[in-house]
């Protein structure tokens, strides 16, 4: 075990993957010698050469188009989109190409080896275009997997599993945790299962569900609620597509209440999908309406970032409303 921050854990996972399989290649804007704007790809070019870790021209649609071709050829592309706010020029390649490749060819070809890494989320004074959480757009794409880690240990294990999974994976990294989240990470190669949520803390009165950087928010809110005698079960969803409805529903059947927290805007957010499924499966077990504590339906603001965010206080209030319903 070594103490690492999330960036170091991502970097360590990339090194592990590239050492284990010479077909693995890392590319994107500024990822080469410079090591990426966040330094997630530091030293990869020095270690593995310019053919396997390289800068691309500044074209997200090009990066994803190139990555799709490379994946279908049998290489293992690990493409970086510098900020998830800038992934949209590549949306067509992801929606119409990456995710449909296997299906449209009857399994003759696929982009299964592709992993797209991209930092997402707010809390870094990034305004509209360095703060968004666009996961729900991608959760609407059959054929994609979406994975989001909450700490360095999770980041390494989930990233390695994403790279090796035989399906295209969008791996979204909560950038406000890049340096803020520090923890023990095994030096050896390990993987954490995709599609599985993790019950981080057992509780009996309400289930709190989040992913990525919002995990520490619901944990903080839970601490406040516990002081008032409310026992919170805390779950990290980890994979948004496919998502682990069994674990969530099992918890809700036990607690009778569910709160989902995400940074992305409320309307059409992934919490809506979770709420719909949970009410369908757990209707008679629910003691109160499913609560969504989310970003506002505004563009991500700059000066009002603090007010916009679904923080621990908003979460704490929602917990109390749910329990006192």
């Amino acid at each position: 075990m070594i103490k690492m921050n999330m960036l170091q854990a991502v970097n360590n996972a990339l090194i592990t993957a590239m050492e284990a399989d010479e077909r693995a290649m890392v590319f994107g804007e500024d990822v080469g010698h410079f090591g990426g704007v966040f330094r997630a790809t530091s030293n990869l070019q020095e270690k593995f050469g310019r053919d396997r870790c390289f800068n691309t021209p500044l074209t997200e649609q090009g990066i994803l188009g190139f990555a799709n071709g490379l994946a279908s050829q049998g290489s293992i592309p690990i493409a970086e989109i510098q900020f998830s706010d800038y992934i949209f020029p590549a949306f067509d390649q992801i929606v119409n190409e990456t995710s449909k490749w296997r299906y449209r060819s009857g399994g003759q070809f696929s982009c299964g080896t592709l992993t797209i890494r991209t930092p997402y989320g707010g809390g870094i004074a990034g305004g509209h275009y360095h703060s968004q959480s666009p996961e729900a757009f991608f959760a609407h794409i059959p054929g994609m997997k979406i994975v989001i880690p909450r700490n360095p240990y999770q980041a390494k294990g989930l990233l390695l599993a994403s790279i090796r999974d035989d399906n295209p994976v969008l791996f979204m990294e909560p950038k406000r945790l890049y340096r803020a989240s520090v923890g023990e990470v095994p030096e050896e190669d390990y993987e954490l299962a995709l599609g599985k949520a993790e019950v981080v803390k057992q509780g009996t009165d309400i289930t709190l569900l989040a992913w990525g950087a919002q995990m520490e928010i619901i944990e903080k809110a839970a601490e406040m609620a516990e002081k008032e005698g409310i026992s919170c079960e805390i779950i990290d969803l980890r994979s948004l597509l496919p998502w682990d409805a069994d674990t969530i529903c099992e918890s809700v059947i036990k607690t009778g209440r569910l709160l989902v927290n995400h940074e992305a805007p409320l309307t059409g957010g992934f919490a809506s999908e979770i709420a719909a499924t949970v009410q369908d499966r757990c209707f008679l077990h629910l003691e109160s309406p499913i609560s969504r504590v989310c970003g506002l339906d505004t563009p991500y603001p700059l000066a009002h970032e603090k007010e916009y965010m679904p923080d621990h206080l908003k979460t704490y209030e929602a917990i109390k409303r749910s329990v006192n319903f």
Partner: protein, 397 residues
Amino acid sequence: MKDRNHLADIAMSRNVDIIENGLIDIPMLQILQPDGTIHKESTVPDLSKEKANKILETMHFIRVLDERMVAAQRQGRISFYLACTGEEASIIGSAAALEPQDMIMSQYREQGALAYRGYTTAQFMDQMFSNENDPNKGRQMPIHYGDKALNFMTISSPLGTQIPQASGYAYGQKMAGQSAITICYFGEGAASEGDFHAGLNMAAVLNCPAIFFCRNNGYAISTPSEEQFAGDGIASRGIGYGVKTIRVDGNDTLAVYAATQKAREIALEKNCPVLIEAMTYRLAAHSTSDDPSGYRSKDEEERWRQKDPVARFEKWLDSKGWFNQAEVKSYIEDTRQSVLKEVKRAEKVPICKIDELIEDVYDVPPWHLQQQLFDLKAHIAKYPDAYPKTSGRITHD
């Protein structure tokens, strides 16, 4: 022209000289003249009698296929078709200059390249009738072929997406140490998509052994090329991206063959992309959903019919003593019969069982797809008459 970044020496000029007409007008390679004779200054590419006849045979196969399938669509037997009449020299002439290990990433009008590789009449029909023999499992509209064994990437409808993909595929071939390249076909209309610019630039910067083959056939559905772009066609853009480029007469099989052969050699030896712009004409409608009389004149079509690439190639074969009119006639007749026979066979083959609906979305169907299939099967079982293609073959787990 040099590769030049902003730090390199740039020659100075002292006047406000705004470049108005470009520095060069790109010429067009023509070897075989419209009358079927070789241009006196041209070198004929090394093309064996056997290969030349395979090219001609494929041209006639495709003419028959196009004619019969447009008719089949008119009769309501298939939903859609897209002919390549007029562009046979561009498509088949280029495919003939490749090696079987080269990947073909096509747009959707390159059935001639697939036929040249050996795709059979039966395979064409199974795809077009979306039946259970189709390797794509009936999931895409007619003409969206794909065949792994023949190194022909499955076609997708969105235009231009295959261009940056070809760069990536070629990069992978290079990294794997293969003696193979990728050819990427597209039209002059698709070259307006952002993916064209992204793909060519990436191929140039990342040294990808790919041939970008533009069929400049004059129209994108109804939009003529003069409303598609200003400037010296698509070829001029290759030069802007630092991509080795050639423009050829797309109705001249020998010019297309020679250019593609040379492009392949350069791509492989120098690990770089080459752009070929083939000047041709889509004599066919865009698709069976299109009627060209709404946007172009019969006179214009007739002028291009005079430049028919197949007739031109036949004249050359004839001059070599390699052309047998009677044999070609009987080949065409045999092909018509076999296409008709395969239409009748393929339309009777059932579509895939309902279970295939959720396969290949992922490597293994996840829980939510399994649940949706389970619910769907129960529903179909309840209303079997409403879903006659699948209800008779449902198995419950």
